[in-house]
Structure formats: structure tokens, C-alpha cells
Amino acid sequence: MALQEYLSGAELLKQGAEARVYRVEFLGRPTIVKERFPKRYRHPLLDEKLTHRRTVQEVRSILRCRRAGIATPVVYFVNYNSHCIFLEDIVGSLTVRDHIASTQQSGSCPEVELGHLAERVGQILARMHDEDVIHGDLTTSNMLLQLSAEDGDSNLVLIDFGLSYISALPEDKGVDLYVLEKAFLSTHPNTEVLFEKLLKSYAASSKKSPAVIKKLDEVRLRGRKRSMVG
């Protein structure tokens, strides 16, 4: 198959449990190919359904986010047979996770700079949740900072919408934030204040935030990752 040959010659960026990510050139543009490969440990029918669903959800959520003004990679092409998504390669970017780590180590005034970043993340998540998009896998590795050449300003880009879905429920949004909180605090030690800033910014930017924050508090108390509704 031409696709397999094409990918075997490509630069493999990462292999996760879910998918392999390659960097290629596609139609003359730097592109990322996310290939959800078949999982042999699953029943084949189930695997096909799940993989297809995840691919479709990812693509739908990306478009929905873009329509709301949230920066995500542009989808160039989707191959539903091999479950490959061809996305814009955000060139010259680093993950928020790496940025926080390096700023904490070497930055002159880490609290101020990271504080600004936390506020921006809070705003973007607020807009996303107001659009009823649940990311499903919020971590600092799934947020990219693209340094813009002209004005030194940076763009915050959200990636990896494989576990995303549409929901208006405050529980789901609360759990989304809880996932981020857990990931944030475990990856970046001593950042409780920073995360508080993020939540404050979220609360200030989202119209539906009081219910969501309330649910977040409840989930924290319960310590569960999934809300058992119904």
C-alpha cells in the first residue's frame, strides 16, 4: 500500500498506546500524520468501531473549536480506511509542559510569566467549554506554544482531541478540569498557586463557570475520575 510506504519513509515523532505520530511533507506543507493503528489485543469489530469513532470525534472537535476561535491544527485530509489524520504541523512550537519546566529552571521571573500563561490557558478552556467541547485529555503536553516570528507574541494551540466529545453538562466540564488539575500538579511540582490562577481566569471568562467550578469541587472531594450519572 502506498500509504504504508509513505509512512515508512517518514520521521516517526512519537508512538503512543493509541496512535503513531509522523512528521512529513504533504502537498508542499509541513504536516503531522496521526495514524491510529489496529490494536490486535482487541476484538477486530470492536477495534474498528472504536478507532473510527475516535478519529471522527477528533476531527469534529477540531472543527468545532476552530469555529469558536480556539487555535487548533488545521485538518488537511482524513483517510478513514487507515484512520490517518493529516494535520497542520505547528512549526516552531513547544509544549506548555516543556515551557513551564524550562521557565521554572532558568526564567528570570517565572511567577509573572507563568502567571500570564495560566490566565491565557484558563481563558481558552473557558471558551472551549462554553462551546460544549470536552477535551477529555487535558494535560500540559497537549497544549502547544507557538512563538510568532513577527511580534514575539505566542499562540496557544490545543492538540490531541482523540478523547473529546460534546457535552453541556457541568459534571463533564468539571471532570475535564479535574483531569488537567491532576496532570498539572503531578507534572509540575509546587504549582498550586499557578493552577489557582488558571481556574480564576477560567471562572472570569466563562459564562457558565459557577456550576462547573462547583462540580469540580465535588469531584475533588469524591476523588473519582468519572461521574456516574444515571
Binding site: A2, L27, R29, R60, I62, L63, R66, V74, F77, V78
Partner: protein, 175 residues
């Protein structure tokens, strides 16, 4: 003048675009295209933002042809259909295909290797002045494009118009 791009996923396929201004025989061209006499897709360039938009449509068309899942009857009509944000085929032809009164046309050819004869055959049929394909952005009817693709104001802030258009083209089948 013309723009050529190899399709990385389909090694034997090359996409060539040619742009013509001051076209006087648009009606005749459209008729020939309908009759299948022109081995290329004739597109209304005012609906295009960039040649990349055409490449995305062509790539998807070749892919669907290879797996036997085209929505239209030919590769060329599939290219035109893929440009449209909706699944209505006749509407796609009406908006993105060339109309009788048009005075510019973009020709897209999907072929193998360097078939220069094909290019000159087709450009001979067009009564107009060939210009660099990159000029297509000067012909774009931005307002019409924004309206047809339903590009929101917030979206324009987080990306270019081309981003919005390409994203919709690529995700049309599952939205």
C-alpha cells in the same frame, strides 16, 4: 506559469493548475467539460483562496477514486465537489464550476509524469490569457467565500481564511 505538485500519497499522480484571465469562451468550455471532452476540472477562480485549496480537493478526489468511494461520476467532477462545504453535488457544480458568463477560469489536471502535451492541448482550448496560478488570490471574492463557507468572526482571529476553508473541506463528510 502553471503550478505542478506531486501527490505524495499517490506517487504516479501529478496535479497541474493553470489560471486564465480575460476568458471569452467560458460557455463553450463548460459545454466541453460537461461532454467530457476536456480531461481536466474547470473551476471558478473567484471562489478560491489559494492553489493549496485545489490541491487538497484533488488529493481527496484521487484517494476516493482509488478506494472506489467517489460521490460523483468522474475524478474531475469529484475535485469540484470536494471544494464545496456542502454535500449537495449540483450546488457544488453551480458555485465552483465554471459558468457561462465567467471571464476567468482555473484548470486542474491530474495526470502522470510530465505530460506537457496534455497541458498545451488544454490551454489551446481556452480563449484567454494565461497568468501565474499564484495570481488566483487577486481574483478571490473574499466576502462570497466567507459567506459560503460560513466562516465565523472568531475563526478569522485564530487562523487564515485558507485554514478555515481547508478544514471544512477535509471534515465535510463527518460534520
Amino acid at each position: 506559469m502553471h503550478l505542478t505538485q506531486k501527490l505524495e500519497l499517490f506517487p504516479d499522480h501529478i496535479v497541474t493548475q493553470m489560471l486564465f484571465k480575460a476568458v471569452t469562451n467560458a460557455a463553450e468550455l463548460r459545454q466541453s467539460a460537461v461532454e467530457g471532452k476536456i480531461n481536466g476540472a474547470l473551476i471558478n477562480p473567484t471562489m478560491l483562496v489559494s492553489p493549496f485549496q485545489v490541491l487538497v480537493a484533488a488529493n481527496k478526489a484521487v484517494h476516493l477514486q482509488k478506494i472506489g468511494k467517489m460521490k460523483t461520476r468522474s475524478l474531475n467532477s469529484e475535485i469540484i465537489f470536494n471544494l464545496s462545504p456542502t454535500n449537495n453535488i449540483s450546488e457544488a457544480f453551480r458555485r465552483f464550476g465554471v459558468s457561462d458568463g465567467d471571464n476567468s477560469v482555473l484548470v486542474v489536471l491530474v495526470h502522470s509524469k510530465d505530460d506537457l502535451q496534455l497541458l498545451s492541448d488544454v490551454s489551446a482550448k481556452v480563449d484567454g490569457r494565461q497568468v501565474p496560478v499564484e495570481d488566483v488570490s487577486s481574483l478571490s471574492d473574499i466576502a462570497k467565500i466567507k459567506k459560503l463557507y460560513k466562516v465565523t468572526l472568531q475563526e478569522e482571529a485564530c487562523g487564515t481564511l485558507l485554514d478555515a476553508v481547508v478544514c471544512r473541506m477535509a471534515t465535510k463528510d463527518v460534520m
